[in-house]
Each structure stands twice: as structure tokens, then as C-alpha cells.
Symmetry: C2
Subunit: 487 residues, 2 copies
């Protein structure tokens, strides 16, 4: 473990409080032990007066279990959730860390987990403004410049590699674009950089969810469509019809109106999306418990059921009732409408994510029942504006993220791996073609969301094993190049 009193500040010659403080040791099950640290960050990196000069504590998990002094730093750019959960999910990075004798650092994203800038008032409207991608990246930049000062004899000799999955991969990418002085390269797994910036058509996500089911058995999407058609028919019969839908869908509270019905459709759609994202060849229990190949398993249930509605409830039950102990489904427990069309939850982090998708991050994915199996549901900029204004009093800034993070022209950067599983419905939001000789796309055949970053499993297909090897080779090359360049 690294001594706390070694943690002094590199750049601050005045009496600022950018110090790593407070250590509590925690060790996870099959992982290397880590220390939990808290780093004082400025509230506002871009307003140097007023409250911007105040600080909050950002949670950072650090492990030197494999570290050789002078070795690289592997830095996970935390995304929308408690960093402790993310730590448990990201297994491959730790295997790599052992190989490269790296220091592991997992930084928590502001407004998530314990890194709440305004404590219990963090999610009050008036306190949300400082939740932006740019502020989060600046947090990571300052943390990194302090980390290298603390952990390297010469601050310039420990190359940093950024890692991230999903939105975390978007952040790793952006960190490499904007701060190549701090990170020598980035592994961005399932990073929907183009979708987040509003640069994709908006009908691909749910189309690809549908395709995942069709690929296993073309009758599955048909069954889902059949179920939705029947629900539409029943609901057209008024109150009684809604009651029957509620009853057959085993809802705890009956649907009151069309808005409720639409919300329930989205709740169903979310479940199918998660089953497709998590379509792994092994069972998981970090978060919801799912069997191996949940798409296949739920598709089997769909086809075995007496009709479409019954099939749908069996399939979504695999996710929402994975403990098999629910007597009915409480929509509001599982699904809160938000500016992410796949829905949010009741978790505090979901509020922050709603805010992010209400401001910078664009996820305008719709369904049309033609290219996908779900009821038509157009999520337009206007729908988004209405929700965001009502919920947060803000108006989205479409175009801003593309202006800020280079849109579709990432070629001026270098040393980025974009990995995507070809079963992951988010993949078309990201980079699927090589951008240049050093910005490369890797596709994991049969791979789900963030599959390469997950804890390696005996059931892993050769494709993911191969991609991980290619990633390790490239990361090794980046480290060698960065080290040579600096010598």
C-alpha cells in the first residue's frame, strides 16, 4: 500500500486543498485488494471565482497489488454508477495489470456513487449544472497529473492507459482526444461515441435488439410483435381492455390510461434491451442474475408460451423477476421514464444520468415496429425538450458534444482501441471501422456489451480471447512507445 503522506500536490504551490485524503481499505472477493481514497476536486473547473473554488470529495479506488515502481498506470474513467460496482465488473483490466505490473486506479464520476458534490442536496435542480462531461474529464485530468507526480519518480515516466466501457468508454476516448499529455492511449469498449453526440440515425439500437432475437429464432420477434398487437387491440377497448392487459402482464397496479400503457411498453422494451446487451455465454449475478445466453433462454420461453402476451411476460420476468419471488410487477420500481429511451431506475445515479441525457448526451433512439419488434414510439428532440424542461428546467444542447469532441472526425487523435461485440445492440452507436493506423476497431464475434472488459470466464469464446490478446499487444506497444519517447 502506498503511504498517504507521500500524497502531495504536484502543481499547486499555493495552499490549495487538492490532496488525496482518507483511506479505508477494502478488499473484494476474487480481486486484488484496493484502497478507497478521496480526492479533493474543484466544483467548477471553468469558473475560477465564486463557488467554483470550493471542492468536493471524489472517490478513487487504488490498488498497487501488482505495481512495479515506474510501471504504467491503468486508469478507469468511471461512468454512470458507483465505482465499487464498476470495479467488480471490470476483470480483464486487472489481468492486464498483473501482466504489465501497473498501478490500478478507478475514478468515480462526479454525481455518482459517493462522489456527490453537494451531499444529500446534490440532485436538487439548482445543483445539477456542474454535471458535465467536460467537468468530469477535468476531474480525471487533475487527478492524473497529481497521481503521476505522486507515484512516479519523474512525473513523465509512467505512461497512463485509460480504460472504459459503455459511457466510460466514451469518456476514455474523450480523455485521449483532449488530454494526450496525460494518457498515452485508451481502450474504449462498447463506447457509443457517435450516438452520444447525436450523429447516428436513431433507429438502430432497438433494431439490433430485435436482430439479436431474430438471429436465434426468427419466430421470436414475431411472437413479441404478436404480444404487442394483442395488447394494442385490448387497450383499444377502453378501461376494461387496459385492465385485462394489466392482469395478463401481472402488474401490481392496473394501467390507468394510454400514457401508462406506453410506459409499460417501454418497460418491456428495456428488458429485451438488457437481455440483448448481456447475452453472454455464462450466467452472471453482478446486478441482476441472468442465465447463460439470456436471449436464447428468453426466446425459448417466448416460443413455449401460450400466446404473445404470455411470452412477453415470461421473457421480461427473466430480468425483472430474476429472484422468482415477485407476485406481481411494479413498473415504477424497475423503470422510470427519462431522457434515455431505455429508461432509468430508482437508483440515485439514474437521476444524474437523466440529467446528462437532458443536456449534453443525446440518445434519441426510437422504435417504429417496422425495423424493430416494438410498438412505434418516436423519441424526438421535441419529446426530449419537453421532458427535460419539466424535470430539470434545462434545455438540451444538441450539437455541443459533437463540436466539443470532434464529431465523426477522430483521426487527429491516435492510440485508441474501439472494441464492440457484434451482438451488442449499442455497437452501431460507436466506431466499427478503423479510423487510422492507430485508432482501430475490433469486433468480438458473438460478443455482448463490454464483453472484453468483463471478468474472464472459462466459457469465453475464442473471439473475445483473441481480441483481449490484440488489446494487450497494442497496449504494450503504447507503453513501450511512450516510455521510449520520454527517455
Amino acid at each position: 500500500m502506498v503511504a498517504v503522506d507521500a500524497l502531495t500536490v504536484r502543481s499547486s504551490v499555493v495552499s490549495l486543498t487538492l490532496l488525496l485524503v482518507t483511506v479505508t481499505s477494502v478488499s473484494a472477493a476474487r480481486d486484488p485488494p484496493y484502497e478507497t481514497r478521496y480526492f479533493h476536486q474543484y466544483l467548477d473547473h471553468f469558473n475560477l471565482a465564486s463557488h467554483g473554488a470550493n471542492t468536493f470529495k471524489e472517490r478513487v479506488l487504488v490498488s498497487d497489488a501488482f505495481w512495479r515502481k515506474g510501471g504504467p498506470i491503468f486508469f478507469y474513467t468511471g461512468n454512470e454508477g458507483p465505482i465499487t460496482s464498476i470495479w467488480n465488473e471490470i476483470g480483464f483490466m486487472k489481468d492486464l495489470t498483473a501482466k504489465f505490473e501497473a498501478l490500478i486506479v478507478f475514478a468515480e464520476h462526479r454525481y455518482y456513487g459517493e462522489s456527490l458534490p453537494f451531499g444529500e442536496n446534490t440532485f436538487a435542480r439548482e445543483n445539477m449544472g456542474l454535471l458535465t462531461v467536460e467537468q468530469a474529464l477535468a476531474d480525471y485530468a487533475i487527478l492524473l497529473s497529481n497521481l503521476t507526480a505522486v507515484f512516479c519518480q519523474d512525473p513523465d515516466v509512467c505512461p497512463v492507459i485509460a480504460f472504459g466501457g459503455s459511457y466510460g468508454g466514451v469518456l476514455s476516448t474523450f480523455l485521449r482526444l483532449k488530454y494526450p499529455n496525460l494518457v498515452a492511449g485508451a481502450l474504449a469498449s462498447s463506447a457509443n461515441v457517435y450516438m452520444s453526440a447525436g450523429l447516428t440515425p436513431g433507429n438502430e439500437l432497438f433494431q439490433d435488439v430485435t436482430e439479436d432475437f431474430r438471429r436465434y429464432n426468427p419466430r421470436c420477434p414475431d411472437r413479441v410483435r404478436e404480444g404487442f398487437t394483442e395488447m394494442e387491440r385490448l387497450s383499444g377497448q377502453g378501461k376494461q381492455g387496459l385492465l385485462e392487459v394489466s392482469s395478463r402482464m401481472n402488474l401490481c397496479s392496473p394501467l390507468q390510461d394510454r400514457a401508462d400503457l406506453v410506459n409499460m411498453y417501454r418497460w418491456v422494451r428495456e428488458a429485451f434491451t438488457v437481455l440483448a446487451m448481456e447475452d453472454l455465454p455464462y450466467s452472471i449475478s453482478n446486478g441482476p442474475s441472468l442465465p447463460a445466453y439470456p436471449v436464447n433462454a428468453s426466446c425459448d420461453l417466448l416460443l413455449k408460451a401460450t400466446d404473445g402476451i404470455e411470452g412477453i411476460i415470461q421473457a421480461v420476468g427473466m430480468l425483472y423477476n430474476f429472484t422468482s419471488d415477485l407476485t406481481c410487477f411494479d413498473l415504477h420500481q424497475d423503470f422510470v421514464p427519462c431522457a434515455d429511451p431505455t429508461g432509468c431506475s430508482l437508483m440515485p445515479g439514474a437521476k444524474a444520468w437523466d440529467y446528462q441525457t437532458c443536456t449534453e448526451i443525446s440518445l434519441l433512439e426510437s422504435t417504429n415496429n417496422v425495423t424493430d419488434m416494438f410498438p412505434p414510439d418516436a423519441f424526438t428532440e421535441e419529446t426530449r425538450v419537453a421532458h427535460c424542461w419539466e424535470r430539470w428546467g434545462v434545455t438540451p444542447r444538441p450539437g455541443w458534444l459533437a463540436t466539443q469532441f470532434w464529431g465523426k472526425d477522430l483521426s487527429p487523435s491516435s492510440n485508441i482501441i474501439f472494441s464492440n461485440g457484434d451482438l451488442d445492440p449499442w455497437r452501431r452507436g460507436g466506431v466499427l471501422q478503423n479510423v487510422s493506423s492507430s485508432i482501430v476497431a475490433m469486433v468480438i464475434e458473438g460478443g455482448a456489451h463490454m464483453m472484453d472488459l468483463r471478468v474472464p470466464n472459462p466459457a469465453d469464446p475464442q473471439s473475445v480471447i483473441r481480441v483481449r490478446q490484440q488489446e494487450a499487444d497494442l497496449i504494450g506497444q503504447w507503453i513501450r512507445e511512450a516510455t521510449n519517447q520520454r527517455e
Copy 2:
């Protein structure tokens, strides 16, 4: 002239107000005519809630006098002053514009000129926080993404080249580093990027001022030293001595104490610095009127004078009394102490510049009377902190600019020209060696501050003519590459 109603917004599908509005036509003397436009910018690009969503009007000068549709956009990244004055000074860019049939755009920096975010209350402490390099660059980025949408059939086909001198050159550089999606290259003249980020030793500026005088005649710095030594001797004799110094220096108000004396020394130092910066082979009258080769001219006065003090007052009079009609010198008129050791003035922009050097921009240049000809005057981080806290209630963030803008490792970028005159005392704050094959340093022999960007003059030496030609060649290459890449 371009019709105003063509100016619609590219990225904003909601009813935001990012529109170019209000046109007043103005034409400068020997320049192409320009239109003055006002572009609605967000107050805060990095806090999407609260007052950040409000806007202010940024002044932009636009000329399509030479423009061929589809041609490049030449974009001047405005620095610390009214953009109209800068327009008059930057002559070479307009020559280039004619050559390349470019659209000319000069954008005013927030908090300067007419681009005051809070109107007449702009310089109140509580309103200063949004004056940062990052906010100014984001202003330029959003402006550019709107400009290309308006002026190009296909927004992606008009390459933008950024131009800037001095702090404006720092901004051009940073714009290319952080927004290569928007600018294909940058000509950064006399851009003290390293000094601004606090990465230079801090004793070079005034050493090089001294060297400029020594180069003409080694007896000049000796004369200056002699004058300061005599002032020190006299002031050591108490009130009467201070009175004698005041009288011999022809001050309107007598010096009261040591603090006044030190301030007067700085006022003198500032004059020598300006004479060295503006050491051009022709006379100028944009701002103060100065003769050709003012270093030589003032040095001659120094040597002709009866003693050192008389010599100093003759030399500084060349700047402060260029109209030759002052009966005495009013220190406070010419020189206001600030966090820029070369001093600020009574101009409103000087307040903004003081604030910038109190927060992000580091200009910790000292004198020691050993490597330079001025009285020892250490400008330390502590001195800076004390001034900034008292004046603005802020504490500088040393290290931040280097973290944010890549410190001394600019090599991940490309297509930047760093030009510097070898007589310019600011040059060692910038990039004097090639960084890579496409980030190149050009030195103008016998060149002063921003000499290449100025209005070409028959007295220009071959060196600046040659550098301008090299710059034109490279810019032409960038435009061709950007155009080919996009086709």
C-alpha cells in the same frame, strides 16, 4: 456582403438563440471593408443549468471582400483588447486572404471590447468567473461550427485556419490542440504558450529586453543601471531623496514611499519592454506613435543625456510622451500594477487581463539586476497570490493551464506554425524549435513582436518577407490537405 437572414443555426434544432444578429457596416482605411456582427453565446459552456444558459453578445468582424464560395475561412482568435484595434494591426492575414480567396472572421474575446457578458457590471468581482481560456475557446468553437454551416454548402468543405498573435497566438494554438475538428491549422505568432502555462524560468523576459539594448550598444544597459543606482542612492536619503527622484523623473505627484518608488521602477521597466517589443524598422502610430527602431533611438537618447536618470526619463518619454505635450508624467495614467509584471493600464480590458493573469495565465517574470538592467524585483507566486486575493478575491491555479493544454508536449497535435522575432523579448516564452514535421518554429531575424502578422511595410527586412512566404506555403498545403481529405 452576406445576408443576415442566411444565418441560421446548424446544431440547434430547438429554439435556442445562437444567432448572428445586428449588422453595422464599417470600413477601415486601407483594409477591406468588414461587417460588425454580434453572435449570441452562452455565458457558461460548462454549466448547463442556471445562468449558464443565458447569453451575451460576442462581437465578430466579418469580411467577404475576397471570398470565393467554398474557399477557406481565416479566423482570428481575438485576444486581450477590442477586436477593432486588432483588425487594424493584423495586415498580413488580409494579404493572405486575398491570395486564398478566404472569408475573414475576427472574433472578439469575451470580457474585452464590446463583448462584455454583464454589460457595465462585467468587471464586478462576482461576474468575473466566466472569464477563462476554456470558455473563450468554446465561444470560438461554437461560432466556427455555425459559420461553416452558414458559409459552406457542405459544412465540412471550407477549411478553417486560425490566426493569432501574442495571447491570441496562444489561443490559436490551443484551438488547434483541442478542436482539430474545427481548425485545419494555426498560425501562432509570438505565442508565449510555455510561459503562460508557467513552464519557463521566469527571468528571461527582462533579460531579453536588456539584451535588445545591449545589442545596439553595450553602454545603454550600463546607463540604465547607472540611473537606477542613482535613484536608489537618493531614495535611501529619506523623504528629501524621494522628492529629488520625483523631480528629476518629472513626475506630476511626488513619490511618497518605497512602494511608490518600486511602482515607478516598474513603470520604467514597462516602457523599455514596449520599446523592445515594438522595435520595428518603420515608425508606427496604431496605439502609441514610435519612430523606426525605437530601441536604437531611445538608446541614443540615453547616451546623449547628462546622466543615467536623465537618460531614463528621455527614453521612457519616447513612449509615455510620444505626443511631446506632457508637462509631467502621471504614473497612474500609464501604469496600473497587476498580475502581469509588465503592468496593466487604465483601459477596461486591463482589468480583464489582470483577472486572467490572476487565475489561469502565469506571467511570473522577475528582475534581478544581474541578468537584466532593472532593479531586483522578484514576482513570486506568493506576490501574485497576495495581489489576486486582494484585488479579485481569487487564488491562482498554477499548473492548471499546463494540465489542460498539454504543457510542453504539443507533439500529438499537428499543423501549427510558431513564429517569433529574434528581437522580441517574449520569444523565449514560446516554441522556438520544431516540435514535429508539421508543428514548426520559424524565427524572424531582426523581428519584433508579432512582426509577421502586421501590415506589410516597404521597410520590412527580407527575413520577415521570407517567413511570410513560408507561412503562406504551409497554409496553402494545409488547405489542400484538408480539402482533399474531405473529398
